[in-house]
């Protein structure tokens, strides 16, 4: 192999030299540059720790919520090195609409123990932002959705709360139908509810006072 026969001492010396060289390279160059670990300060003196500081963020994984369906098979997305955009496996989380969202505002007066319902007609997957507040007292609310084509028995509840004075939020319709609020005045005086809905509702329907 070489002019000298490999002896035990010579090969062990080679092993030792390699280990030593590797240790020196690791501690002074590789670890400072790759991880910012710099026990000797040589990495900093050579400007290598700056590599770590300015390096693009390491690959990250983002967990995706299955907001409107279609993500069942792909709940995580690798974010790559931060230079290239990552195509989302389910681009339906962004919905193109031909028109701007519209805003509807309603004011409803409710006497003591009176109740009413206001609902947004929504197609499946359409989104609304809502905000409502009560002046003069507190109400019980049942925020729910219902598909009229399936009869009156089918409905799902998003939120039920008692003795509150307002809520803000958003909703993506899980199915086509009417999605809205049942309000009951639980105060001992009349109240005024102001509701604003912005989004892609077909329209807001005021059912008036219920018996």
């Amino acid at each position: 192999m070489s002019e000298q026969m490999p002896t035990r001492a010579r090969t062990l010396k080679g092993l030792g030299l390699s280990l030593l060289a590797a240790a020196v390279l690791l501690v002074t160059l590789v670890l400072p540059a790759e991880y910012g670990i710099d026990p000797t300060g040589i990495g900093k003196a050579l400007g290598l720790t700056a590599l770590k500081a300015t390096a693009p963020a390491p690959a990250q994984t983002v967990v995706m919520q299955d907001v409107i369906g279609g993500n069942e098979g792909l709940t995580t997305v690798q974010l790559g090195d931060g230079r290239d955009p990552v195509p989302l496996p389910n681009p339906a989380v962004n919905q193109d609409e031909p028109q701007a969202p519209h805003t509807e505002t309603l004011k409803i007066q409710l006497g003591v123990d009176e109740k009413t319902e206001v609902k947004a007609k929504l197609s499946k997957g359409k989104m609304i932002l809502y905000s409502w507040s009560v002046e003069g007292g507190k109400v019980y609310v049942d925020f729910h959705g219902h598909d009229p084509s399936l009869g009156d028995k089918f409905w799902v509840r998003y939120e039920e709360a008692d003795g509150i004075t307002g809520r803000n939020g958003s909703l993506v319709a899980p199915f086509k139908g009417e999605h809205g609020w049942y309000w009951l005045n639980v105060s001992d005086k009349p109240v005024m509810i102001t509701l604003t809905v912005t989004g892609y509702q077909d329209k807001l329907v005021d059912y008036g006072r219920l018996q």
């Binding site: 192999m1 002896t7 092993l15 390279l25 690798q78 790559g80 195509p87």
Partner: protein
């Protein structure tokens, strides 16, 4: 000292393709792999080949393996054993969902480079240890396959068409290995024909061993801090 630099120069030339690239599947390749849904044989084949040709850890190991293989038949035998080993674990772990820690696997891959270089300087023989080189290359082939698999498993690949895609990736790895080996065998033949080969071989293998230990330490540190 001079012969050591000659060894360094030759090693650099032989391993040049891998020095230009970073390792791992990253950037647009990673995003491509993740949006694939269904069989895409050729792209997976290409990425497998690219991964091998640009993977310095695999190339360092191959360089160590063929360092003293003078006959093409031996190169073919050792390369086939290596291919058998890494195909088994690459296909097995991706398809069956076995998962190894990428840092630890890559640390062992670094050790495999150091092991081969130490064997090349006659280290094991001098210690009275006899190892079957064919078994070792098969065994380390299994570990290199795990390493290839962990890179793919970091991505969320669609199960749709995965088996065939993996066959494509694996065939690509073998083609990439063949391309890299061809170039390396030619360059080694060229190097061996120079008078400096005998004298610089030990220095070159010490450099290989150092590189192996650096890779190992780099990955162990990565394991430690993550």
């Amino acid at each position: 000292m001079k012969r050591r630099w000659a060894g360094l120069a030759w090693l650099t030339i032989i391993l040049l393709p891998s020095l230009a690239f970073a390792h791992g599947v990253a950037g647009k390749d990673a995003s491509y792999l993740q949006q694939v849904d269904g069989v895409r044989l050729i792209p997976f084949l290409y990425l497998g080949a690219k991964h091998m040709v640009t993977g310095y850890d695999h190339l360092l190991f191959l360089a160590g393996v063929i360092f003293f293989l003078y006959r093409l038949r031996d190169v073919a035998l050792y390369a086939s054993l290596f291919a058998l080993g890494h195909s088994l674990t690459l296909m097995g772990s991706v398809l069956l969902g076995w998962r190894a820690n990428a840092h630890l696997v890559d640390a062992v891959i670094g050790l495999s480079v150091a092991y081969k270089a130490y064997e090349n300087i006659g280290g094991f023989k001098a210690l009275g240890i006899t190892l079957d080189g064919r078994l070792a290359v098969l065994g380390f082939g299994l570990v290199h396959g795990l390493g290839l698999a962990t890179k793919l498993q970091e991505l969320s690949l669609s199960p749709n068409g995965l088996a065939l895609n993996m066959v494509g990736f694996n065939v690509g790895v073998e083609l990439g290995q063949l391309a890299a080996l061809t170039l390396m065998v030619l360059l080694f033949a060229l190097w061996r024909s120079t008078p400096s080969f005998e004298r610089s071989a030990r220095g070159a293998n010490l450099l290989l061993m150092t590189a192996g230990f650096v890779l190992c330490g780099y990955q162990l540190a990565g394991y430690w801090i993550t």
